[in-house]
Amino acid sequence: MSSPVEREPLLRVEGLTKAFGGIRAVDELNLAVAAGELRCLIGPNGAGKSTLFSLLSGIHQPDAGRIVFKGEDITELSPFRRVRKGICLKFQTTRIYRGLMVGENLTIARGKVRGTNGRLEWALGVLGLAGETARPAGELSHSHQQWLEICLALATEPELLLLDEPTAGMTPEETALTADFVIKLSGQGVTILVVEHDMAFVRHIARGVTVLHYGRVFADGTLEEIEANHEVRRIYLGEQ
């Protein structure tokens, strides 16, 4: 019985469907993500990327389909239980506790986990937040707020990290720094799904890419394959 378990991907999504106001934002979507993968999700506006994330993290309940994580069906699980299972989300619009200090933000995020979290310390150092613990989070620069939110997510020690537009509003330098950080994080064994519009970021990461269109997986492959795909260029890249 051991081999099928090993072949089981970390995350498997089957026939996932969710409609909002008459529009099927996610439409019978199938997806599998292997442990340790770093994958970018791209697609035009309204392709269902953020909805997929909200379904994976449990903010919304799907109308149909199921979500399997580490071999366990988590479709009915409430959001906080999914976090405890190891799925954590960084929201599209930055959501940190602006009124609290950076350190206090982290205190909340660390939960009942006591003792050192080496990865978090490392991340804080890399992202330039280590010296900022006594500053109100709302006073940080926009990109630092984005990074703080990633750190909050990391504090929960996730196995699968969902990053929704982590570089929105960043300068090219900051985008590059974020991309490097994400690659290093992936190198430490965290499975990461990134929704991103910024193709510079996607190229920098240069890993597997999944294209969503009208709530379905439209194409799947390496960056080169996707960029070579005519249909994708038409619906998505062509727009730029």
Binding site: P79, C88, Y97, L100
Partner: protein, 347 residues
Amino acid sequence: MRGPLGIFSRVGGRQDLGRGAAFWVAFAIVALGLVAFPLFGSAFYLSNLANFFVYVPMGLGLCLLWGYGGILSFGQASFFGISGYVYGIVAQNLSLTPGASLLGVAAAILATVIVAALFGYFVFYGQVSAWIIPLLTLVLSLILETFMAQTAGYQWRIGHVLLGGYNGMTGIPSIQVGPLEFGGASIALYLLTVIAMLLGYLGLRLLVNSHFGYVVVGVRDDVERTRMLGYNVARMQVTVFALAAGLAGLSGVLYVSWGNYINPSSMGLYAATLPVIWTAVGGRSSLIAVTLSTVALKWLADSLAVRGGEYAFLIMGALLLATMLFFPAGIVVSLNRLWRRARRQAP
């Protein structure tokens, strides 16, 4: 490890006004003054002050719930009333048993917490929007007041204690520990209310500066974010709701020990809004501000009653509206901010 992620869980932590030596010296002086007051205060002033202090735990509970937890509730008076009635039923039925009144206190607060947890379960696990909770807690007050008001007559009795309907429950014994009776105008009750107030304040201050307290604040600031950090937000809210109710229950027990009487109007519409006024006017984000405003506003209502009572409600309403318009954070909190700004600019 405390280095850069320093844990802020100390009483003097950031989640309240009043940090630094000057505050704590002043706090100690006031506390000592209150404890020493029976040496020179008259029985009437003791009774009167005790009456003001009785309500402080209830106010602090709402401060925790609304100011720190972001949940506005008009239900504090309901829990105050439930506790008072349960205490009355237990303590009066067992009046011949030694220690009956302590059993009554325990039963009262326990009952309050259980009812609050049940109500909280329905409301918070349903994940209703924030505005529904104040309305539903108002409805809860109305249910309880309407129900208790029609319990006149013999068929409404528990053991040999009559619920008493609209006229209320009479003959409730004061809390008694050995020979010490915590009656209306006694030094013992006065000191008990002072201790309840001080311990309530310090305990909650410790709580809001603990990890739990920060998560409560996190829930207030961003429910979704906190849930996404792996917290069972609904359970957290029920806990805070029940804790606030327990504090209101403590006030309820002290109140019946003070007045030996309770009736349905102590859970009615007006009673339900008083804690909201205290909390809003003082400053809901600060425990010390709410403590001060609860005592000050009880005192104000009392003085207004003595001279020209017609204006009492009017002044309360005007105060509430003016606070919401000009000091939305509360008067004490706003004054503190002004003072700090002035001090920063002075040198």
